[in-house]
Symmetry: C2
Subunit: 218 residues, 2 copies
Amino acid sequence: MADEVILLDFWPSPFGVRARIALREKGVKFEYREENLRDKSPLLLQMNPVHKKIPVLIHNGKPVCESMNVVQYIDEVWSDKNPLLPSDPYQRAQARFWVDFIDTKVYEPADKIWSTKGEVQETAKKEYIEALKILEAELGDKPYFGGDNFGFVDIAMTGYYMWFEASEKCGNFRIEPECPTLMASARRCLQRDSVVNSVPDPEKIVEFAFKIRKIYCV
Amino acid sequence: MADEVILLDFWPSPFGVRARIALREKGVKFEYREENLRDKSPLLLQMNPVHKKIPVLIHNGKPVCESMNVVQYIDEVWSDKNPLLPSDPYQRAQARFWVDFIDTKVYEPADKIWSTKGEVQETAKKEYIEALKILEAELGDKPYFGGDNFGFVDIAMTGYYMWFEASEKCGNFRIEPECPTLMASARRCLQRDSVVNSVPDPEKIVEFAFKIRKIYCV
């Protein structure tokens, strides 16, 4: 029997896109189901009763939740193609460390840049650039965080790369002068087939961000 | 050459203890180095320049940071004894999901119970019990979160189990009537050799909590 793989997702989500990319890196066929986050489907509520959040990967009826947990699950189940995590335990620990850094230090300021204004937004911009600079230093002269290969940390970051333009426009600032190496790696990531097929048009994300921004920043 | 394993730690830390327990589950000999968190050692600052936090495991000169990342590293390096994560990818994903739940939904209210008072503390107590009840339901009739075996999720929780008495005394409430099954599992965990040898005397934690509480709740 073929695997049944369903992804509950929301198109501009920097988290949902991680699962999409991982599945495409592995060549896994899946059914994409768009969720309306203001009227969540009974399936989403049933499959992720604790957090009620996307993405949820439903593999042969069984749910896996939390985006990077989903990515790691995909890497372990479809282990024959394009490994996302390194095999060496030390390198694996480093990759998990940086993903945790991204989810704690990049997420919050990124979120505030498009949902706040004034001083709060200014502080968020500073914190965002500070976190990106730490990542820039970690990247060094490697093409990807995964070294020569697009990997676990790159997938985590691609969710933010696809939001770079919207972040810059909402915050009226530029990332490239501060983080040229990271920006070069971002472009490299955004050109991959698995990513091109998973990431929405940046213009649409900008439009979405400003639409939501109007609600948050009245 | 034998492995050189050093753990930078702080005795009452619910995070540090996770690394201690994992090392003892695996029978790994290690040098424990107590950190003064008000005057961090140059070694800690050098080994964890990003977060500057304990625990840090230094294995043959190379640092691994973030407690559950350390535990997973230990599990992968010393894989021949007492596996902490299951081998099945789905079960592994479930274990990681619950550890993430603990670190996001248990940590914050637990922290507030001993560091705040009044309404903030009351809300924290409610949120704490709510989170523990979700864990109680997940535990079901299993002796451990790891099923018949003490595992990854149990190690994550033991840091909180060792603080239960201090939390109850600081918050003037009781956990057992709300979560009898979780409490039974907590007692089981706290009796393990690896845990007994890693966890400080509960009285000392109570004393520590009230000492710090005096500073936060003036």
